[in-house]
Symmetry: C2
Subunit: 219 residues, 2 copies
């Protein structure tokens, strides 16, 4: 409400500024939004200031494109609507196994996390995570997890280091009960981290590059 702007940004996207530069005059934009040319001009200036759009100004007009930040804002908006109108209880996400750097193991081996996993997930996880790189076509689905509640695991501070809140989604991987872990304050990623009571990689004889399907429950 405070600063709307998302409506303007959406209109610019509709006018073709989502994936490339589009020639959009302040008059056109104003008409589309039902505001004056002057107000549209200011809207664009504000969006540019917030680095949501990038401008190329010519003699007779300007070319606009939506930045990565702007794209993410619109995507976020879209996913919120999607969750409203197309709620799902389960989703299947595909991806390929790969080897991480072991940060996952470090995180989940923290006592404060482990206690909560055991209590809230009904299984004590093996100390290690299975990294899955989500298939591009399943990214929209994966991203909706960002807006779903999940099972909340509280963060904490230990030895001066902050461990943030994370959320879990119960899932099944080739018949084994497991859980997807997602930081609450997440950045864009195509990496899905999975924990289970067993070492998934050896239990399922998985090796790097293997494709897997995860059946995720949103409760």
């Amino acid at each position: 409400m405070k600063g709307d702007h998302v409506g303007t940004l959406k209109q610019l996207a509709i006018m073709g500024a989502l994936n490339s530069f589009a020639e959009i005059t302040t008059r056109m934009l104003g008409e589309s939004l039902g505001i004056s040319q002057q107000a549209a001009s200011k809207e664009i200036l504000k969006l540019a200031e917030k680095k949501l759009v990038e401008r190329q100004i010519g003699q007779k007009g300007q070319r606009l494109t939506i930045t990565k930040a702007g794209h993410e804002m619109l995507k976020r908006e879209y996913l919120e609507y999607k969750l409203l109108f197309e709620p799902t209880k389960n989703m299947q996400i595909h991806g390929s196994v790969f080897s991480g750097l072991g940060e996952g193991r470090y995180y989940i081996s923290q006592a404060r996390y482990k206690q909560q996993f055991a209590k809230k997930l009904m299984f004590a996880p093996f100390e290690g995570t299975l990294n899955i790189r989500v298939t591009a076509s399943d990214m929209p689905l994966f991203e909706t997890l960002t807006f779903s509640e999940g099972i909340r695991i509280d963060g904490f501070v230990s030895k001066g280091r902050t461990f943030g809140d994370v959320k879990c989604f119960l899932a099944m991987l080739q018949g084994i009960e497991c859980s997807v872990i997602i930081p609450v304050r997440t950045h864009y990623t195509d990496v899905m981290e999975v924990i289970a009571s067993r070492h998934l990689r050896s239990a399922l004889s998985l090796k790097d590059g293997d494709m897997v399907e995860l059946d995720i429950s949103l409760e």
Copy 2:
């Protein structure tokens, strides 16, 4: 831009007012939107005045639900986003054949329409339309046609009667080239009208109640 309100409406939907009454205080709403309790109160009053939400006021709080008009506004918003982020070239829509009242035939037999059909669709339509009632599960897909460009057929006035702009989408029905016709200023409907160079009903031996799949191109 003029009156935002869609952002507030979306928030109310997220808070559970989409499909039933939800207990939402002005304070809660204000916090969610990052505005004051007072401003939230005014937002709700405005939405109620515009008949986008319905209120039930109690002693200590209120119950809110989003009206049909509000629901449609949000749906519209959602479909616009969907078109941005999940563009499609083709869609399959299912439905059942039924007999209309012959209004379709009356409309498309107008000379001014016929001329344009012949020129822009590359086939001169048979004077009659095949009515298809879209399956409920395909309605979301069908509704996105509302926001797609299509092939524009200009409206006109004839004998004091107004024939509005319509748009066409090329399609295939059981191997026969045809076209879906949609009025540009459309109201909510689950009826799809199809024209072709032949009488589809007899060419395909269709009778009322038959299920058909239409493959529609959005260019």
